[in-house]
């Protein structure tokens, strides 16, 4: 008698971030693409307030790129553009 392959165990949906022990490395990584660069990316401009509001905290601080995963180049542009909007009192 041949043993059936244990398909049942493989079929179970597993969260790749789950870990059995603390020291085991998880397979998945947080690899998020920059939301502001690419082909259909929105325009970063001081008049586009709806977009700028997303990258500001409740206390009007600029969010760091490690949280929003914005690329270096676009983060530099975001900060200058937010500061312009603040001068005009839009944000």
């Amino acid at each position: 008698m041949k043993r059936k392959s244990n398909k049942k165990f493989n079929k179970r949906p597993q969260n790749p971030l789950n870990k059995l022990s603390l020291f085991q490395k998880s397979d998945a990584r947080f690899s998020k693409k920059c939301p502001l660069s690419g082909k259909d990316a929105p325009v970063v401009d001081y008049k586009n307030i709806k977009l700028l509001r997303r990258y500001i905290s409740d206390t009007d601080k600029i969010m760091p790129s490690r949280i929003t995963s914005v690329s270096q180049n676009k983060q530099r542009k975001l900060t200058s553009e937010i500061k312009k909007a603040k001068i005009l009192g839009l944000i």
Partner: protein, 113 residues
């Protein structure tokens, strides 16, 4: 010749004929110093995020034009002196986007209805 954008914030308690005077005044400054106006946008009365000199609201006027250095000096100098303005901002652009308008007066009226 390069492209520029210039926005002005006028005080809230200014009457409408005076607003039109202010709007004309800066158009004349651009045209007299060999500039070229591409577009003028009136954003209307908008409320500030924070108080500016004890004012809660202001009239926004937005110019898009093509000019050289001397017009910029003239515009900045006159908008600093002007008592009816609260703030101003000029931005330099390589390419001007004249189609998209972020502040349309229609949108405000629709919300009221």
């Amino acid at each position: 010749m390069t492209f520029y954008e210039h926005t002005i914030i006028a005080k809230q308690d200014i009457s409408t004929p005076e607003l039109e005077k202010i709007e004309k005044k800066y158009q004349d400054i651009i045209t007299k110093t060999d500039g070229e106006i591409i577009k003028v946008e009136k954003w209307g009365l908008l409320s500030f995020a924070k108080k500016i000199k004890a004012y809660n609201k202001g009239f926004y006027i937005h110019y898009k034009f093509k000019a050289e250095n001397k017009t910029l000096d003239e515009i900045k100098r006159s908008s600093i002196i002007d008592n009816s303005l609260l703030r101003h901002l000029t931005v330099k652009y390589k390419k001007l986007d004249t189609e998209t308008e972020y502040f349309k007066e229609k949108d405000i009226n629709e919300k009221k209805k």
